[in-house]
C-alpha cells in the first residue's frame, strides 16, 4: 500500500517554511502512477481533436468563413463565465486536497461542496447554451463549425458530468466520517487530478471555439 506520510505539525508553521517541506518526500507522483495513463490518454485524444479542428478550419477560404461566422453565433459571455466557473472549481478542489492532508474534515467538505456547485453551474450553463442554439435552429448538422462544436464540447461536458459525480461521491464520503485520515488521500487526489484535467481541456476548447475563430 502506498504510504502518504506528512507532518501535520509542520504544515502550520510560519511563512518561512518552503512548500516542499510540507510533504515528507519532496518528489511524489500525485495519485497512483497508473492513473496517469488514463489522464495522458485523454489528453492525447483531445489534442488530436484540437488539431483536427484547426486543420478543418483552414481547409479552404469557405471553411474559414464558416468557422468565423459560427464563432460569432456563440455567446462569449457564457463561454467566459464557464471558464471562470471551471477555474474556480479547480481552485476549490485543490483546496479540498490540502484540507484533507491537514486533517481538516469540515474545511475539506466545504471546499468539495463549493467545487460541486461550480460543476453543476458549468453543466447548467452549457445545457442552457445548447438549448439557446437549438432554439435558434442551430444543430450539429448546421455547419462544419457546429459539428465540431457540439461533438467536442459534448464530449467535454460528459467528462464534467463524470467529474461532478465523483466530487459528489467524495462529498458523501467526507460527510460520513468525523475525521479524515491518510486513507482518504489517494481517492481525493485521484478525483482532483481528473477534475483539473477536465478544467485544462476546457481552457483550450474555450480558446479554440470562442476566441480564435
Amino acid at each position: 500500500m502506498k504510504e502518504y506520510s506528512f507532518d501535520k505539525a509542520e504544515y502550520s508553521m510560519s511563512d518561512s517554511m518552503s512548500e516542499v517541506a510540507v510533504l515528507e518526500s519532496p518528489k511524489r507522483v500525485p495519485v497512483e502512477p497508473g492513473f496517469w495513463v488514463l489522464i495522458f490518454g485523454d489528453l492525447l485524444v483531445f489534442s488530436v481533436m484540437f488539431v483536427a479542428f484547426m486543420l478543418r478550419r483552414f481547409e479552404s477560404a469557405d471553411t474559414q468563413r464558416i468557422f468565423s461566422e459560427g464563432a460569432q453565433l456563440l455567446n462569449p459571455a457564457i463561454g467566459l463565465t464557464n471558464t471562470v466557473v471551471l477555474l474556480t472549481s479547480s481552485f476549490f478542489v485543490a483546496r479540498a486536497v490540502v484540507q484533507v492532508r491537514k486533517g481538516e474534515t469540515e474545511s475539506a467538505r466545504k471546499a468539495t461542496f463549493l467545487a460541486i456547485v461550480c460543476g453543476l453551474g458549468f453543466i447548467s450553463l452549457k445545457l442552457y447554451e445548447y438549448s439557446e442554439k437549438l432554439g435558434q435552429g442551430i444543430t450539429v448538422t448546421s455547419s462544419p463549425y457546429f459539428e465540431y462544436y457540439f461533438i467536442f464540447t459534448g464530449i467535454h461536458l460528459f467528462h464534467v458530468v463524470i467529474g461532478t459525480g465523483l466530487l459528489i461521491y467524495l462529498f458523501k464520503r467526507l460527510s460520513t466520517v468525523s475525521q479524515v485520515n491518510q486513507d482518504h488521500l489517494p481517492i481525493e487526489e485521484g478525483v482532483a487530478c481528473y477534475w483539473h484535467m477536465v478544467d485544462l481541456l476546457w481552457l483550450m476548447l474555450f480558446a479554440l471555439f470562442y476566441l480564435l475563430a
Binding site: K27, R28, V29, W36, P76, F91, L203, A207, L211, L212
Partner: protein
C-alpha cells in the same frame, strides 16, 4: 485564521488565471486590436496564453511541481507540442 503558504499561493495562481482569461477574452473581442497587431500574431498569442493557463493548472493545482521530473516533462511536452502544432497551423495559414 492563518492562511498557509500553500493556500495563499493557490489563491494567487487562481487570480492570475482569471486575469489571463479576461485579458484573452478582451483581446479576442476587441476589433481595434487587429489594427495594432497581425491576426496571426493574435491567434498565436491566444494559444500561448491558453497554454500558459494549462501550465499553471498542472504545476500548481495538479501539484506537478512536487512530482518527479519524468512526469513533469511529460506534461510539459504535451503542452509544448500541442501549442506548437496549433500555433504552427495558425501561422501557416494566417501568416505572421
Amino acid at each position: 485564521m492563518m492562511v498557509s503558504v500553500v493556500d495563499r499561493k493557490d489563491l494567487n495562481i487562481y487570480f492570475v488565471l482569471i486575469i489571463i482569461t479576461f485579458a484573452s477574452a478582451l483581446s479576442a473581442e476587441s476589433p481595434w486590436i487587429l489594427e495594432l497587431i497581425d491576426k496571426g500574431l493574435l491567434e498565436v498569442s491566444l494559444i500561448g496564453l491558453a497554454s500558459l493557463k494549462i501550465l499553471l493548472v498542472t504545476e500548481h493545482f495538479m501539484e506537478l511541481k512536487f512530482a518527479p521530473n519524468w512526469l513533469r516533462y511529460m506534461m510539459f511536452s504535451w503542452i509544448g507540442i500541442v501549442m506548437v502544432i496549433l500555433a504552427g497551423i495558425s501561422v501557416f495559414f494566417n501568416g505572421f
